[in-house]
């Protein structure tokens, strides 16, 4: 009932057609400058960058930073703590995850964000509920800005996708920045260097 009434009121009241602006395109930096900007932004938003040569290098990082009793989770098959997912898991069961690592699609230099979709998360809640978050980024997959980012995403289908930029944070108490609000307390970017 309300649907028809709302739509008819809108049709009556909306102004005459105004066309969309043209898409924005800017001259963009490339190569090392993009990587440098990305690293700078990740540091600025409270994350950190660890450069690696091979995906397996993340194993060493994990063993140095986390104890044997702590729960490490990753859908990345190359890693020692690879965790198979069936898609039937109750999301609540990941509550005690200390460290989780995911492979991103790409990263964005202008704001330090990475783009990841559900198929690479194991479970939707995992990048949020883990205490510490790791994100694998290949150096050749860093774009300059958000316009390039959405060009990259294009018409890709997903159930859920998210840009994540740094650890969860709040400044709600007197504007004092505190890392670790409800999501991850830290975010480490594992930057897989170009080998060519």
């Amino acid at each position: 009932m309300s649907r028809a009434a709302i739509l008819s009121a809108i049709l009556n009241n909306q102004p005459k057609q105004i066309s969309l602006p043209k898409d924005l395109q800017f001259d963009l930096p490339a190569g090392a400058a993009v990587t440098e900007k990305f690293i700078q932004m990740v540091n600025l938003i409270g994350g950190r960058v660890v450069e690696i040569q091979r995906v397996e290098d993340i194993n060493l990082y994990a063993s140095e930073h986390f104890g044997a009793g702590e729960r490490l989770v990753t859908p990345i098959e190359e890693l020692d703590f690879y965790t198979p997912f069936t898609g039937e898991e109750l999301p609540h069961q990941f509550v005690n995850t200390e460290f989780a690592v995911f492979e991103t699609h790409f990263a964005v230099a202008e704001n330090g964000a990475v783009w990841i979709t559900e198929d690479r998360m194991g479970a939707r809640v995992l990048p949020f509920i883990c205490q510490h978050l790791g994100m694998l980024v290949s150096e050749e997959n860093i774009v300059s800005n958000m316009h390039e980012a959405y060009n990259w995403i294009g018409n890709a289908d997903y159930g859920f996708g998210t840009f994540i930029a740094g650890p969860s944070k709040t400044a709600d108490i007197e504007q004092s920045l505190v890392l670790g609000a409800h999501g991850a307390r830290s975010m480490t970017i594992f930057l897989l260097k170009n080998t060519f």
Binding site: S2, A5, I6, L7, A9, I10, N12, N13, Q14, P15, K16, Q17, I18, S19, P21, L24, F26, M41, L44, I45, G87, E88, P91, V95, V108, E110, G112, A113, A123, R124, V125, F128, I129, N145, M146, H147, A149, Y150, I153, Y158, G159, F160, G161, T162, F163, A165, G166, S168, K169, T170, A171, D172, I173, E174, S176, V178, A181, H182, G183, A184
Partner: protein
């Protein structure tokens, strides 16, 4: 809040503590300065603002079709779409969704729309317990206050006061006010909430017609924690939150947080397209006066707002009167042009709570002509007879005086004579212009008299 207490009186309450006013003013100006720094760091900033403005103009001119396209695409994605003409319908839809699953506890992330609809009060009256999960919102919820800012809900509170609230409600030690410790306490308390709530309600920052998905932006991760753990996710959105295509998000996500807090992007910009396996996902499209505002040519582009809060941070009146002085869910300049559309009598004071300096218009990322609309609302409100008697009488006297040059000259003479010979008649609390000001020394002659003498 009571409709009888208006902005000037509520500002007086806030202004009793001068040190606090100065602190509030400085804090918000600091955020404005951070916004300037990042905005100036982007050479195409003005192009982005103009583009965002044009996209939103297109949205408003096609809203009917975009809503239908969004609905169809969202349904294809497995999202259930509901329509609510007003706050009451919205609240009933939420309640019936919860009742259909036998749920009486809900966790909610930030949604100004639900503040506008007074959803929490409604649900509580109907036996549903609601916990706000954004830290700032949780703090004001525990304090039984509304948020005072759309992005920074407890910007009016000192950490000592927050520590006291946490001591009373969350069991921290008395006297603890360290933000790190308080945030950690809230993290533990709210993790428990997220894990035990079967339903989560989130707001919507942007909904995309082309794909039927919606985007929710947070820094804390609370919207995601709630939504991904709940078996039912309800997303409430005003009908003006639509954008045509996914690629347009690039423009808005570049502008939103830089304008809001000076960050390059929020920590999480989550794109919800399909419910997860076994989950229900609902979107409620809410009108609540928006279709009426769309028909007001002078005011329709207030619907372009993306709720960044930049206009509040920069407003000299907001910074010194506090968010609660606006007695509406959305404070500051943007609230002052949105509220009268809903209830012109109740919010007749708000368009006058401005110096018309134009700073709000200058920082608005979607180029809403906020200060022009404030001015235009004043005309509408006065013509409609919604101003207070004192203001109406003062305006009538002003009109009488200014409409005749003889009366104007005479009034000037009387004014100068009074300031010189009988200052006590104006230097008292009955004269609103004397509050916080010294009256000026009277000039010997008017400008016209001086001009006649000197321009021979």
């Amino acid at each position: 809040m009571s409709s009888s207490i208006k902005h000037p009186a509520l500002s007086d309450i806030f202004n009793k503590d001068e040190a606090r006013v100065n602190w509030h003013d400085d804090t918000l100006w600091w955020i404005r300065a951070k916004r300037d720094k990042v905005a100036h760091g982007i050479s195409e900033w003005e192009i982005l603002r103009e583009t965002a403005s044009q996209i939103k103009n297109n949205v408003l001119s096609n809203l009917h079709d975009y809503l239908m396209v969004f609905e169809a695409n969202a349904q294809t994605n497995g999202i259930k779409v509901h329509w609510a003409a007003n706050a009451e319908e919205h609240n009933k839809i939420v309640l019936s969704l919860l009742q259909s699953k036998g749920i009486n506890q809900m966790v909610k992330s930030k949604s100004m729309l639900t503040e506008e609809c007074h959803l929490n009060e409604y649900l509580e009256r109907n036996g549903v317990d609601v916990i706000d999960s954004d830290l700032g919102e949780r703090i004001v919820q525990l304090a039984k206050e509304p948020p005072s800012h759309i992005v920074l809900p407890c910007i009016h509170k000192k950490k000592g006061e927050i520590g006291q609230i946490f001591h009373e409600h969350l069991g921290t030690e008395a006297g603890v006010s360290d933000p790190q410790i308080l945030t950690e306490t809230a993290r533990i308390h709210l993790r428990e909430t997220f894990l035990t709530r079967r339903s989560a309600l989130t707001g919507v920052n942007f909904a995309i017609a082309e794909t039927g998905e919606f985007v929710v932006c947070t820094n804390e991760g609370n919207a995601d924690m709630g939504a991904h753990l709940a078996e039912i996710h309800i997303a409430s959105m005003g009908i003006e939150k639509l954008i045509p295509k996914k690629k347009h998000l690039s423009v808005f996500l570049r502008l939103l947080t830089r304008s809001a807090t000076g960050q390059p992007i929020t920590t999480y910009s989550s794109h919800f397209k399909k419910p997860r396996k076994g989950q229900e996902m609902h979107v409620i499209l809410v009108d609540n006066g928006r279709s009426v505002q769309l028909g007001r040519e002078d005011f329709r582009n207030s619907l372009k707002c993306i709720r960044c809060g930049a206009c509040m941070n920069t407003c000299p009146v907001y910074r010194r009167s506090g968010g609660h002085s606006y007695h509406y869910a959305i404070a500051g300049p943007i609230g002052a042009i949105l509220a009268p559309n809903l209830n012109m009598k109740e919010y007749s004071d708000l368009p006058f709570a401005s110096t018309l300096c134009g700073s709000c218009t200058n920082v608005c990322p979607v180029k809403i002509d906020i200060h022009d609309q404030l001015y235009k609302w004043r005309q509408v409100i006065v013509k409609g007879g919604y101003t207070s008697t004192a203001k109406t009488v003062a305006m009538k006297v002003m009109e009488f005086t200014l409409s005749s040059s003889t009366r104007f000259k005479l009034a000037g003479k009387i004014g100068r004579w009074t300031l010189k010979n009988a200052p006590f008649t104006v230097n008292n609390q009955l004269n609103l212009w004397f509050k916080n000001r010294e009256m000026p020394e009277a000039p010997k002659e008017s400008f016209s008299e001086w001009y006649k003498k000197n321009n021979k």
